[in-house]
């Protein structure tokens, strides 16, 4: 458990370091978040759920 915690803290501090050292990464993250959102939205919109009245 402790190892996972250390790994997570290390990952977060590394991302924070990259964001402070490379400011353009903020724009990359915005683009990434937007693209992921659009891809998930497309998946959810295109899938059809079956609905049936039982009573």
């Amino acid at each position: 458990m402790k190892d996972i915690l250390v790994f997570t803290i290390n990952a977060i501090t590394n991302v924070a370091y990259i964001l402070t050292e490379y400011p353009a990464f903020i724009a990359i993250f915005i683009g990434f978040a937007g693209i992921v959102f659009l891809r998930i939205k497309e998946q959810v919109d295109s899938s059809v759920r079956e609905e049936q009245n039982i009573l």
């Binding site: 490379y22 990434f32 937007g34 497309e42």
Partner: protein, 172 residues
């Protein structure tokens, strides 16, 4: 009482893929940018950020072509990062090779300057890739967007003409 189907296996895999593929591109980008130090900070990072944001904006503005725009953006970014990494590795390999070593490995006479020109070629390729790819991507997306707008206005005009014919308001 309504029976509603729960999320299917196929849908779950689709959502996971929707996150994992862009994440893989982002991680490759992080590795590339940080491995190039100052060149990554000043050139690769801002230009690839430009590609990500442009792809996102164009995808929002053109809903009918959203899927292909997103796929192109991710493909271009991945190729950009991967190519730069490969070229950097190639530069590292050829930088350590002297003209004598190349003569020995090709087993034929070669000019003594070849040992110095090879890293130069690799560097040129890195510069051309780093700057040319985002420019090419921007040109492609902007052209596509202009084409889309033109088609859209043509569709609007036709729809307007049909509306006039159906309702007959134009003659009133």
């Amino acid at each position: 009482m309504v029976f509603e189907e729960k999320i299917s296996k196929q849908e779950t895999i689709g959502v996971i893929k929707a996150v994992i593929i862009p994440l893989a591109v982002l991680i490759t980008g992080m590795i590339t940018v940080t491995s190039f130090a100052n060149f990554g900070k000043l050139i690769i990072c801002p230009l690839s950020a430009f590609m990500w944001v442009l792809g996102f904006i164009v995808a929002i503005l053109m809903p009918s072509m959203r899927k292909s725009v997103i796929n192109e953006t991710l493909g271009f970014c991945m190729t950009y990062y991967a190519l730069l990494l490969v070229l950097k590795i190639a530069l590292g390999i050829v930088s350590g090779a002297s003209a004598e070593m190349l003569v020995a490995s090709y087993d034929q006479p070669m000019p003594s300057s070849v040992g110095n020109t090879l890293p130069g070629y690799c560097q040129y390729m890195i510069y051309i890739t780093a700057i040319g790819t985002p420019i090419g991507f921007a040109g492609m997306q902007i052209k596509r967007f202009i084409q889309f707008k033109r088609n859209k206005s043509l569709q609007d005009t036709l729809a307007q003409a049909r509306d006039i014919r159906h309702t007959g308001r134009f003659n009133e």
